[in-house]
Amino acid sequence: MSIEIVDGASASEPVLGADEELKGRSPRELAWRRFRRNKVGIIAGVFTLGTLLSSLFAPFICKVLGLDPNELHLDQINVSTGLPKAYLGGISWEHPLGLLPGTGRDLLSQLLYGSRISFLVMILATVATLFVGLLAGITGGYLKGRVDATLGRVTDFLLAFPSFFMIVALAEPLVDRIQRLGIAHGNSARILFLIIILTFFGWTGFSRLIRSQVLSLSERDFVTAATALGASRTRIIFQELIPNLWAPVIVVLSLSLPGYLTAESVFSFLGIGVQPPGFTWGLLISNSTQYVTNMPSFFLIATVSLVLVVLAFNLLGDAVRDALDPKADK
């Protein structure tokens, strides 16, 4: 705090500023201030927000731009090669990112609509992972003893499990089961399967992290102080422990959001996830690999979109974690 006192008359203003300073700022204000100083974080945040919003409002955006993801433009496709007739994969004012080869669908609208399913899987799987992981981690770390030992063995088992092959093997029978139970049908059943199975194998690492944090936190004196004041378990968990778990939660959030996004793409690519006529980023990328040499723009646009979103999530996660750490004042 630097206060320059020039003369008596103008001194009143800086003193007022000093009063304000002493009131202190709320934690959220402080975090926001720290976040605002991080340019990379701001850019990543704006990009992420923009992507999520345009995914949410995809129908609206497409209407404004006059695009339809299902409309075929066969007249603009070269019949013998299947590629768009125009240069650069048919990039034009009408079709900002060009056309899909073969059918002549608009790529931008396909990306926007496709992102809705990809993001849905990503967000729901992350939320479920956080919930299960927090619950298991806090339970094990705080109750210790036999509960912790049991949870630990379950975690070990799931971590040692070859989950990728399991997902591939289980896809057909489980999707079938979901459909027969009448919970969901077609692509919705496959989306549900992806969310459940990704969470089932995904919560363990996070739960480990939370458990170790809770173990170390619950031995700290401020938790003992709360006990000495007669605080209930609920209060200790929610007021003393959970506020100190933000850092690992943010780290996991920034790693598992893009992780699940790529996982969805991988499984759709392999034909386990959403299948045509539905479309997701994974399917688009899968489709584009056939045209890497003939029409690189399609492949580049599809993969670079995925890379950019994943990168933005990671950078945003980093920035938010730094902003939330009261000790990270540089």
Partner: protein, 323 residues
């Protein structure tokens, strides 16, 4: 007058398990092994001893942060030994603890205001004039700027943090406070301030203290009586002036001779007692008198018979051959 706290033959053993599956303990760490004493209202009992002698465990067991293994604890004449953790909550406003490490005793995510308000919130007490007023009065009382209400612990120095911890402990005006090495982590100049603050607060509120420390001069300054602990047992308990003027137990004597004298001439010529060997393992304490492995006066009897605390003048001493 009923003592605020009375402890009878208190023991606290920590079982050691070889692995997570073993049902039976492989051994016990006898952190506190049969201690008895009383603390009168408004009195300060100092508790000294080297690291690992069970001072902190004793302090925490007395206010039932640990479940005692054996013995009895009376608080204001009531037996609280078997009171369940849930039922202890109503006693918590009367007994408090001040911690050694001011860096881990405050939740880094809570503001100072929230930390000091926690006692009111947890015990469901609305002080006169509202919680915020009460917190700011407390902050002022312990020498903090009440305008720092919304700041976070990391913005304060060690001494200031210790003041925050003290404000939290005295918020509900407890009758008994366990001060667990409250100044050991602080600079000497800050130590004096904190000790004077505790002294003033005691006069103002009339609380009793169990003042745990390893610095004998600090204990001498603040205590009415002093208990000397060694390997989970009390070796000697005596009024401060008596203990420092005429220690009866060899261990007390050795401890006192380790205190440097602030006069170079006396310091150079005075006789110092050097204890040889290490503190024996509290898992397997020596038979007879626990101090016999390091005592220069030890005889066969000391290795067989455990000495009881016996009255000598105003002091109680556990030694077969007191001075």
């Amino acid at each position: 007058m009923t003592p605020i706290v009375k402890v009878e033959n208190l023991t606290k053993h920590f079982p050691i398990k070889k692995n997570a599956l073993a049902r039976r303990a492989a051994g016990n760490v006898k952190a506190v092994d049969g201690i008895s004493f009383e603390i009168a209202p408004g009195e300060t009992l100092g508790m000294v001893g080297e690291s690992g002698c069970g001072k902190t465990t004793a302090g925490r067991t007395i206010i039932k942060l640990y479940e005692p293994t054996g013995g009895k604890i009376f608080f204001e004449g009531e037996d609280i030994t078997k009171v369940s953790p849930a039922a202890m909550r109503s006693y918590r406003s009367k007994m408090q603890i001040i911690f050694q490490d001011p860096f881990s005793s405050l939740n880094p995510r809570h503001t100072i205001g929230r930390i000091i308000a926690a006692p009111f919130e947890i015990q469901n007490i609305t002080p006169e004039g509202g919680v915020k007023r009460a917190v700011q009065t407390l902050m002022e009382r312990v020498g903090l700027n009440p305008e720092h209400y919304n700041r976070f612990p990391h913005e304060f120095s060690g001494g200031q943090r210790q003041r925050i911890g003290i404000a939290r402990s005295i918020a509900l005006k407890p009758k008994f406070i366990v001060a667990d090495e409250p100044v050991s982590a602080l600079d000497v100049s800050i130590q004096a301030q904190i000790i004077n603050l505790l002294d003033d607060l005691q006069t103002e509120f009339g609380m009793s203290f169990l003042f745990i420390a390893h610095d004998l001069s600090v204990v001498q300054h603040i205590s009415d009586r002093v208990a000397v602990m060694y390997l989970g047992k009390i070796m000697e308990i005596a009024p401060t002036t008596d203990l420092y003027a005429a220690p009866h137990h060899p261990y007390t004597k050795a401890l006192l001779s380790a205190v440097p004298v602030p006069d170079p001439n006396t310091e150079r010529t005075r006789e110092r007692i050097l204890l040889h060997g290490d503190l024996p393992s509290p898992m397997n304490p020596p038979s007879g008198c626990v101090f016999n492995t390091r005592c220069w006066k030890a005889q066969d009897r000391c290795r067989i018979d455990e000495p009881e605390l016996l009255q000598i003048g105003a002091s109680s001493v556990a030694c077969h051959f007191p001075e």
